[in-house]
Protein backbone atom coordinates (compact mmCIF):
# COMPACT_ATOMS: atom_id res chain seq x y z
CA UNK A 1 0.00 0.00 0.00
CA UNK A 2 1.32 3.48 -0.87
CA UNK A 3 0.36 6.94 -2.14
CA UNK A 4 -3.15 8.28 -1.49
CA UNK A 5 -4.48 4.99 -0.17
CA UNK A 6 -1.75 4.94 2.48
CA UNK A 7 -2.64 8.52 3.47
CA UNK A 8 -6.32 7.59 3.74
CA UNK A 9 -5.56 4.45 5.72
CA UNK A 10 -3.48 6.39 8.22
CA UNK A 11 -6.12 9.19 8.66
CA UNK A 12 -3.69 11.51 6.83
CA UNK A 13 -6.39 13.77 5.37
CA UNK A 14 -7.93 14.36 8.77
CA UNK A 15 -4.55 15.03 10.34
CA UNK A 16 -3.65 17.45 7.53
CA UNK A 17 -6.98 19.28 7.91
CA UNK A 18 -6.44 19.51 11.65
CA UNK A 19 -2.93 20.79 11.12
CA UNK A 20 -4.16 23.49 8.73
CA UNK A 21 -6.88 24.45 11.20
CA UNK A 22 -4.43 24.67 14.10
CA UNK A 23 -2.07 26.87 12.09
CA UNK A 24 -4.94 29.04 10.84
CA UNK A 25 -6.42 29.61 14.29
CA UNK A 26 -2.96 30.13 15.74
CA UNK A 27 -2.17 32.86 13.23
CA UNK A 28 -5.64 34.42 13.60
CA UNK A 29 -5.21 34.53 17.39
CA UNK A 30 -1.77 36.05 17.02
CA UNK A 31 -3.14 38.73 14.67
CA UNK A 32 -5.92 39.49 17.14
CA UNK A 33 -3.47 39.78 20.04
CA UNK A 34 -1.16 42.04 18.03
CA UNK A 35 -4.09 44.24 17.01
CA UNK A 36 -5.23 44.81 20.57
CA UNK A 37 -1.81 44.74 22.22
CA UNK A 38 -1.29 48.55 22.10
CA UNK A 39 -4.68 49.15 23.72
CA UNK A 40 -3.98 46.54 26.36
CA UNK A 41 -0.65 48.16 27.21
CA UNK A 42 -2.28 51.58 27.38
CA UNK A 43 -5.03 50.24 29.59
CA UNK A 44 -2.46 48.58 31.84
CA UNK A 45 -0.43 51.79 32.17
CA UNK A 46 -3.42 53.93 32.96
CA UNK A 47 -5.09 51.35 35.16
CA UNK A 48 -2.04 51.29 37.40
CA UNK A 49 -2.48 55.04 37.96
CA UNK A 50 -6.21 55.02 38.63
CA UNK A 51 -8.42 52.04 39.53
CA UNK A 52 -11.48 53.90 38.24
CA UNK A 53 -9.91 54.04 34.82
CA UNK A 54 -11.38 50.70 33.74
CA UNK A 55 -14.91 52.01 33.93
CA UNK A 56 -13.96 55.26 32.22
CA UNK A 57 -12.11 53.42 29.47
CA UNK A 58 -15.02 51.08 28.80
CA UNK A 59 -17.40 54.04 28.70
CA UNK A 60 -15.15 56.03 26.41
CA UNK A 61 -14.61 53.06 24.11
CA UNK A 62 -18.33 52.44 23.95
CA UNK A 63 -19.19 56.08 23.30
CA UNK A 64 -16.40 56.33 20.73
CA UNK A 65 -17.77 53.31 18.88
CA UNK A 66 -21.25 54.83 18.95
CA UNK A 67 -19.93 58.14 17.75
CA UNK A 68 -17.98 56.48 14.97
CA UNK A 69 -21.05 54.53 13.94
CA UNK A 70 -23.12 57.67 13.65
CA UNK A 71 -20.59 59.39 11.47
CA UNK A 72 -20.98 58.09 7.98
CA UNK A 73 -18.10 55.72 7.44
CA UNK A 74 -17.37 56.98 3.99
CA UNK A 75 -17.18 60.69 4.83
CA UNK A 76 -13.73 62.16 4.83
CA UNK A 77 -14.21 63.66 8.29
CA UNK A 78 -15.12 60.36 9.83
CA UNK A 79 -12.20 58.66 8.14
CA UNK A 80 -9.74 61.30 9.33
CA UNK A 81 -11.08 61.22 12.87
CA UNK A 82 -10.54 57.46 13.08
CA UNK A 83 -7.14 57.84 11.49
CA UNK A 84 -6.17 60.46 14.04
CA UNK A 85 -7.30 58.19 16.88
CA UNK A 86 -5.02 55.46 15.54
CA UNK A 87 -2.11 57.87 15.23
CA UNK A 88 -2.73 59.15 18.74
CA UNK A 89 -2.66 55.62 20.02
CA UNK A 90 0.61 54.89 18.21
CA UNK A 91 2.16 58.10 19.48
CA UNK A 92 1.04 57.39 23.04
CA UNK A 93 2.83 54.07 22.83
CA UNK A 94 6.01 55.74 21.67
CA UNK A 95 5.83 58.39 24.37
CA UNK A 96 5.22 55.72 27.00
CA UNK A 97 8.77 54.57 26.26
CA UNK A 98 10.14 58.11 26.14
CA UNK A 99 8.47 59.14 29.43
CA UNK A 100 6.58 62.40 29.84
CA UNK A 101 7.29 65.21 29.31
CA UNK A 102 8.89 64.36 25.98
CA UNK A 103 10.85 66.14 23.28
CA UNK A 104 8.67 66.79 20.25
CA UNK A 105 11.44 66.54 17.59
CA UNK A 106 12.44 63.15 19.02
CA UNK A 107 8.83 61.96 18.94
CA UNK A 108 8.54 62.95 15.27
CA UNK A 109 11.80 61.21 14.48
CA UNK A 110 10.80 57.95 16.17
CA UNK A 111 7.29 58.03 14.68
CA UNK A 112 8.77 58.42 11.19
CA UNK A 113 11.18 55.55 11.83
CA UNK A 114 8.20 53.40 12.75
CA UNK A 115 6.56 54.17 9.44
CA UNK A 116 3.78 56.54 10.50
CA UNK A 117 2.72 58.60 7.52
CA UNK A 118 2.43 62.41 7.60
CA UNK A 119 3.52 62.59 11.21
CA UNK A 120 4.01 66.36 11.19
CA UNK A 121 0.48 67.30 10.23
CA UNK A 122 -1.05 64.69 12.52
CA UNK A 123 0.93 65.88 15.52
CA UNK A 124 -0.05 69.41 14.58
CA UNK A 125 -3.72 68.42 14.65
CA UNK A 126 -3.27 66.89 18.10
CA UNK A 127 -1.60 70.12 19.27
CA UNK A 128 -4.30 72.35 17.82
CA UNK A 129 -6.99 70.08 19.24
CA UNK A 130 -5.32 70.36 22.65
CA UNK A 131 -4.76 66.61 22.98
CA UNK A 132 -1.02 67.21 23.22
CA UNK A 133 0.33 70.32 24.94
CA UNK A 134 3.62 72.15 25.05
CA UNK A 135 4.99 73.39 28.34
CA UNK A 136 6.89 76.58 29.07
CA UNK A 137 9.98 74.37 29.43
CA UNK A 138 9.88 73.43 25.73
CA UNK A 139 8.81 69.87 26.45
CA UNK A 140 5.50 68.30 25.48
CA UNK A 141 3.01 65.99 27.15
CA UNK A 142 -0.47 64.61 26.72
CA UNK A 143 -3.21 66.90 27.96
CA UNK A 144 -5.01 66.25 31.21
CA UNK A 145 -8.56 67.45 31.96
CA UNK A 146 -7.03 70.39 33.88
CA UNK A 147 -5.17 71.57 30.77
CA UNK A 148 -8.43 71.75 28.89
CA UNK A 149 -9.99 73.81 31.66
CA UNK A 150 -7.06 76.17 32.13
CA UNK A 151 -5.95 76.56 28.52
CA UNK A 152 -2.37 76.36 27.33
CA UNK A 153 0.60 78.45 26.33
CA UNK A 154 -0.75 80.66 23.56
CA UNK A 155 2.36 80.63 21.43
CA UNK A 156 2.82 76.92 21.74
CA UNK A 157 -0.68 75.95 20.81
CA UNK A 158 -4.08 76.99 19.59
CA UNK A 159 -5.29 78.78 16.52
Amino acid sequence: MGGFSAISAGNGWLIAAMGISVVFFGLASLAFIITYFPRAIRWWNDHAKSPKYTVQLLRSLFSQRNRKATISADTREGHESGELDDVEEALRLITAHMKEPFKLPRLIEVAEQRGLARVHSKINRLLVKGTMVGGADGLFRWATPNDRKEGVNSETVSK
Binding site: K103, P105, R118, N124, L127, V128, D137, E155, V157
Partner: protein, 148 residues
Protein backbone atom coordinates in the same frame (compact mmCIF):
# COMPACT_ATOMS: atom_id res chain seq x y z
CA UNK B 1 7.07 92.42 -3.36
CA UNK B 2 4.39 92.13 -0.67
CA UNK B 3 1.60 94.73 -0.25
CA UNK B 4 1.98 97.17 2.63
CA UNK B 5 -1.47 96.23 3.96
CA UNK B 6 -0.28 92.66 4.33
CA UNK B 7 2.95 93.64 6.11
CA UNK B 8 1.36 95.88 8.71
CA UNK B 9 -0.73 92.97 9.98
CA UNK B 10 2.37 91.37 11.49
CA UNK B 11 3.42 92.08 15.06
CA UNK B 12 7.09 92.80 14.33
CA UNK B 13 6.19 95.39 11.70
CA UNK B 14 3.13 96.81 13.43
CA UNK B 15 4.75 100.04 14.65
CA UNK B 16 6.27 101.02 11.33
CA UNK B 17 4.89 104.01 9.43
CA UNK B 18 3.77 103.76 5.77
CA UNK B 19 7.05 105.12 4.39
CA UNK B 20 9.05 102.51 6.31
CA UNK B 21 6.69 99.76 5.26
CA UNK B 22 7.13 100.84 1.65
CA UNK B 23 10.86 100.09 1.88
CA UNK B 24 10.16 96.68 3.36
CA UNK B 25 7.41 95.96 0.87
CA UNK B 26 9.90 96.20 -1.98
CA UNK B 27 12.31 93.83 -0.23
CA UNK B 28 9.80 91.24 0.91
CA UNK B 29 9.13 88.05 -1.00
CA UNK B 30 6.56 85.29 -0.68
CA UNK B 31 7.81 81.74 -0.07
CA UNK B 32 6.10 78.40 0.38
CA UNK B 33 7.21 75.23 2.13
CA UNK B 34 5.67 71.78 2.34
CA UNK B 35 4.66 69.80 5.41
CA UNK B 36 7.72 68.14 6.96
CA UNK B 37 10.15 70.42 5.13
CA UNK B 38 13.08 71.68 7.20
CA UNK B 39 13.00 75.39 6.56
CA UNK B 40 15.94 76.31 8.77
CA UNK B 41 18.77 74.13 10.01
CA UNK B 42 20.39 75.12 13.31
CA UNK B 43 24.03 76.14 12.93
CA UNK B 44 23.84 77.08 9.26
CA UNK B 45 24.51 80.70 8.30
CA UNK B 46 21.43 82.82 8.90
CA UNK B 47 20.49 84.53 5.66
CA UNK B 48 16.71 84.87 5.73
CA UNK B 49 14.09 86.15 8.15
CA UNK B 50 10.70 84.45 7.83
CA UNK B 51 7.30 85.72 8.93
CA UNK B 52 4.63 83.04 8.99
CA UNK B 53 1.64 83.94 6.81
CA UNK B 54 -0.19 80.66 7.02
CA UNK B 55 0.55 77.22 8.44
CA UNK B 56 2.14 75.70 11.50
CA UNK B 57 5.79 75.44 12.51
CA UNK B 58 7.99 73.67 14.99
CA UNK B 59 11.06 75.53 16.25
CA UNK B 60 13.45 72.93 17.68
CA UNK B 61 16.47 73.89 19.74
CA UNK B 62 19.69 71.84 19.75
CA UNK B 63 18.90 70.26 23.13
CA UNK B 64 15.67 68.80 21.73
CA UNK B 65 13.26 71.24 23.28
CA UNK B 66 10.80 72.92 21.00
CA UNK B 67 7.94 75.32 20.60
CA UNK B 68 5.27 75.29 17.93
CA UNK B 69 3.89 78.34 16.14
CA UNK B 70 0.37 78.33 14.80
CA UNK B 71 -0.54 81.96 14.35
CA UNK B 72 0.17 84.20 11.36
CA UNK B 73 2.93 86.67 12.19
CA UNK B 74 5.21 84.18 13.96
CA UNK B 75 8.83 85.10 13.28
CA UNK B 76 11.65 82.64 12.66
CA UNK B 77 15.20 83.17 11.47
CA UNK B 78 15.73 86.36 13.47
CA UNK B 79 19.46 85.47 13.64
CA UNK B 80 19.63 86.85 10.10
CA UNK B 81 19.58 90.29 11.74
CA UNK B 82 22.71 89.53 13.75
CA UNK B 83 25.73 89.49 11.49
CA UNK B 84 27.60 87.21 11.09
CA UNK B 85 25.35 84.60 12.63
CA UNK B 86 24.09 81.08 12.38
CA UNK B 87 20.55 79.96 13.08
CA UNK B 88 20.08 79.03 16.74
CA UNK B 89 17.26 76.55 16.13
CA UNK B 90 15.91 74.32 13.40
CA UNK B 91 12.49 75.09 11.98
CA UNK B 92 10.27 72.43 10.44
CA UNK B 93 6.87 72.93 8.80
CA UNK B 94 4.17 70.91 10.54
CA UNK B 95 1.78 71.73 7.69
CA UNK B 96 2.11 73.38 4.30
CA UNK B 97 3.20 76.94 5.02
CA UNK B 98 3.48 80.30 3.32
CA UNK B 99 5.88 82.99 4.47
CA UNK B 100 6.90 86.55 3.90
CA UNK B 101 10.68 86.49 3.73
CA UNK B 102 13.39 89.11 3.95
CA UNK B 103 17.00 88.75 2.98
CA UNK B 104 18.95 89.15 6.23
CA UNK B 105 21.77 91.19 4.69
CA UNK B 106 19.38 93.59 2.90
CA UNK B 107 17.26 94.00 6.00
CA UNK B 108 20.34 94.56 8.13
CA UNK B 109 21.59 97.26 5.75
CA UNK B 110 18.21 98.96 5.83
CA UNK B 111 18.03 98.79 9.61
CA UNK B 112 21.55 100.22 9.92
CA UNK B 113 20.69 103.13 7.57
CA UNK B 114 17.38 103.89 9.26
CA UNK B 115 18.01 103.66 12.99
CA UNK B 116 14.45 104.61 14.00
CA UNK B 117 12.98 101.82 11.91
CA UNK B 118 15.65 99.39 13.09
CA UNK B 119 14.85 100.17 16.71
CA UNK B 120 11.15 99.47 16.17
CA UNK B 121 11.82 96.16 14.41
CA UNK B 122 14.39 95.03 16.96
CA UNK B 123 12.11 95.98 19.84
CA UNK B 124 9.31 93.88 18.38
CA UNK B 125 11.62 90.96 17.72
CA UNK B 126 12.78 91.19 21.35
CA UNK B 127 9.16 90.94 22.47
CA UNK B 128 8.70 87.78 20.43
CA UNK B 129 11.91 86.27 21.73
CA UNK B 130 11.19 87.09 25.35
CA UNK B 131 8.10 84.90 25.09
CA UNK B 132 10.19 82.00 23.82
CA UNK B 133 13.35 82.35 25.86
CA UNK B 134 12.30 81.32 29.38
CA UNK B 135 12.97 77.65 28.82
CA UNK B 136 16.33 78.01 27.16
CA UNK B 137 19.27 76.82 29.16
CA UNK B 138 22.10 79.14 30.07
CA UNK B 139 24.32 77.71 27.32
CA UNK B 140 21.68 78.61 24.73
CA UNK B 141 21.36 82.09 26.15
CA UNK B 142 25.11 82.55 25.91
CA UNK B 143 25.05 81.35 22.32
CA UNK B 144 22.26 83.79 21.54
CA UNK B 145 24.20 86.64 23.12
CA UNK B 146 27.16 85.75 20.91
CA UNK B 147 24.83 85.74 17.91
CA UNK B 148 25.14 82.04 17.14
Amino acid sequence: MIPIDELKKYEILAELDPAELKFLSAMAEATQAREGEVLIQAGLPARTLYILQEGDLMVAFPDGRAITLHKPGGVVGWSALVSPAGYTASVTCLTDCTFVTFSGSELLRLVQRNVAMGTKIMRNISKVLSRRLPFLQEKDRQRLRKGR
